[in-house]
């Protein structure tokens, strides 16, 4: 009875909230208040895949859902990144009948790794894809070990794992569970030395021996071997290879894939999505063909025009240095003159003034590659200090804390406008710049 009431009211709230953009979390939260074990009461006609990890889970889950839909399957999916308990509940209750039956061929759930043990308290996915594990929002998450612990509590023995064989940390997740790996061979853009400051696997996650890398794709993702216990990249079933960065073509197990978003982390995300779909029973070649037509969400990456200048907005996760490093990688791919605009806020969810995370971002990679960097937001002067220590000449760094005055400063710069900011601050900066 409680369940039926939760479903009815949740569906109603979803319909009422939709025109106002309040339909992603609230319906699920309300339903869970009425029926706290609602998530355990759904019955699924199809397989359930969960996608988690520190970075790339939204893009990867979106790609998985896209491939499945391209093959004609029906999919329930929390597409807007509503990956906490309420968002997952909303996705399921809107897809379910009043009896709680989810009549979809597949359910694809992006799941926040921190909330995984709560989300999977009452039900379990058939398979779980973990893209990677990095330091991420330490004020909320604690460190990688804390996240690993939470994931271990969430993953039941029956769950099949799809794991990144280039990541020594997440590759070792729940070692007793059945698993398949995907990975990417060394590419022309992989490096012998780690180009990033953030490197969370300098020591072996198994025995604490020093790790030796034969190549890095980015941060601690690459070809690794522990000098003490020999822990090394596992054999992977799905291999990304033959990357042609000029055309955006590469192969997965020999099948051609194309993407316009050619960063190494995205190639790995594509490989992850294809691997997951193949493990769900789809034809590998069809998956490769389908993912080649995928276009990333404009919410995370958007190109537009500001007067006669091209502009691009690349969003990062809050206080997530690896995500910010990826944004830097992406803008370095762009040719021509560019000005980088960076909005630095306080810690979003707590208001603390800490800017420690700026010292985990490799701003040094922008040296000599940009015309100017414009810093804005409450902690803009902390960014100025970070850039000074990185070696940027003072004339290349402009600071305007006040967002309302930013446009005038940016107008005095040259080249493409590349906006790097966090998700939550995107709207306010976009309003100012695109005036």
């Amino acid at each position: 009875m409680k369940m039926k009431l939760a479903l009815i009211l949740g569906k109603l709230l979803y319909l009422l909230g939709k025109p106002f953009g309040k339909s992603t979390n609230l319906p699920g939260e309300l339903a869970l208040k009425i029926c706290p074990h609602l998530l355990g009461k759904f019955r699924f006609d199809g397989k359930v895949l969960a996608v988690t990890g520190s970075n790339g889970k939204t893009s990867t889950a979106n790609m998985v859902a896209y491939i499945l839909k391209q093959q004609g399957y029906t999919v329930a999916h929390n597409a807007k990144g509503s990956n906490l308990t309420g968002g997952v509940a909303t996705t399921l209750l809107t897809a379910a009948s009043l009896s709680g039956r989810v009549r979809r061929d597949f359910v694809v759930l992006e799941v926040d790794e921190r909330f995984s043990r709560l989300i999977f308290r009452d039900f379990s996915p058939d398979a779980l894809l973990c893209t990677n594990l990095f330091r991420d929002q330490l004020t909320r998450n604690g460190n990688v070990d804390v996240i690993l612990e939470k994931l271990h509590e969430a993953i039941r023995p029956s769950v099949k794992l799809i794991l990144n064989g280039n990541d020594p940390i997440s590759a070792d997740l729940a070692p007793a569970n059945q698993r398949v790996y995907y990975g990417m061979a060394q590419t022309a853009q992989s490096s012998q030395k780690c180009l990033n400051i953030t490197h969370d696997a300098k020591v072996c996650p198994r025995c604490f021996g020093r790790m030796d890398y034969s190549y890095y794709h980015y941060n601690h993702i690459g070809g690794f071997r522990c000098t003490k216990c020999g822990y090394t990249n596992p054999d992977w079933r799905y291999t990304a290879d033959q990357v042609d960065f000029a055309s955006g073509d590469f192969t997965i197990n020999g099948y051609r894939v194309h993407t316009d978003y050619k960063d190494l982390f995205n190639l790995l995300n594509i490989t992850a999505a294809v691997a997951a779909c193949s493990e769900l029973g789809l034809d590998l070649e069809q998956c490769c063909r389908a993912v080649s037509t995928f276009v990333p969400l404009k919410q995370r990456y958007d190109e537009f025009q500001v007067g006669d200048r091209r502009a691009v907005m690349i969003l990062s996760k809050n206080q997530n240095p690896v995500s910010f490093d990826q944004s830097i990688s992406h803008l370095l791919e762009r040719e021509g003159e560019k000005t980088v605009v960076v909005f630095i806020n306080n810690i979003n969810h707590t208001g603390h003034r800490d800017t420690t995370w700026l010292y985990d971002i490799s701003f040094e990679r922008l040296l000599g590659k940009v015309n100017a960097i414009v810093g804005t937001g409450p902690r803009a002067y902390d960014l100025a200090v970070r850039l000074k220590l990185a070696g940027f000449p003072s004339e290349q760094v402009r600071i305007e804390r006040n967002l309302s005055q930013l446009k005038a400063v940016v107008d005095k710069t040259r080249g493409d406008i590349c906006i790097l900011t966090e998700l939550y601050d995107a709207k306010s900066i976009l309003e100012v710049i695109s005036k």
Partner: protein, 238 residues
């Protein structure tokens, strides 16, 4: 000119959160004074002659990593204590402070011995606790500093040689407003504040460099750092 030798101890294990910024600040300061420097990295099992270094840095780490470091560090107890008495400059940020107390108890209940430079003991809580901190260092009691605490442990019984008088936020002990925080003994600086605490506080950085360089110390321009600090403090203390 003799270079300043710096040791980043357990750089591979204890590297949690922007801690590299402290060495960046120190080396940029040395560059400004045109004093050469070099940084060595040592970790588990490495032979370490502390008398070769003018500065030793330890940052915070994950609980499992800290436990490994503790088992190695306690074997270096005599050399470290001798180095402290011989005025080698130590900077220990975040939970690496736990290595310098009597002992600390991890989340799994295992108690690991520290080197006993101080009488305090530590205890892992397993809960993430964060706090902005405004505090006055004992070497510049009129100068407010800003720091950030992000920890899953606390310290009991730290009764001597405080580094900071706290005016806002948490310090040693429980997760409540505190009177004092950290330790300064000879040239040993220890604080719960983590990340680039020397970048955030130019007065702290200059005190460290003054002690490190002696007569070779020359002041340099830190206007940008001072402005960033002033804005942060004005927001917290308004």
């Amino acid at each position: 000119m003799n270079p300043i030798s710096i040791l980043w101890l357990y750089d591979d294990l204890l590297d949690l959160y922007g801690d590299w910024g402290n060495l960046l600040a120190v080396t940029k300061g040395l560059d400004a004074m045109e004093i050469p420097w070099h940084i060595d990295h040592k970790s588990l099992g490495d032979e370490t002659d502390f008398s070769q270094y003018q500065m030793v840095y330890l940052g915070p780490g994950k609980a499992r990593n800290l436990a490994q470091a503790a088992k190695d560090f306690v074997q270096k107890k005599k050399q470290v204590l001798d180095a402290v008495e011989q005025d080698v400059l130590f900077l220990a940020t975040g939970n690496s402070r736990l290595l310098f107390g009597k002992s600390f108890t991890g989340a799994d209940g295992e108690t690991l011995p520290g080197i006993g430079l101080f009488d305090y003991t530590g205890e892992e809580t397993g809960n993430v606790f964060v706090s902005d901190v405004v505090a006055y260092p004992v070497f510049a009691p009129q100068t407010a500093s800003y720091g950030f605490i992000n920890r899953t442990a606390h310290i009991h019984g730290n009764t001597r040689d405080p580094l900071f008088a706290v005016s806002y936020g948490a310090g040693d002990g429980q997760e409540t407003p505190a009177q004092q925080e950290g330790n300064l003994y000879r040239n040993f600086f220890g604080t719960w504040q983590l990340g680039p605490v020397l970048v955030k506080n130019p007065v702290f950085l200059k005190e460290v460099l003054r002690r490190l360089t002696g007569e070779r110390f020359r002041d340099w321009n830190t206007t940008a750092e001072e402005l960033a600090l002033k804005l942060t403090l004005s927001e917290i203390l308004k």
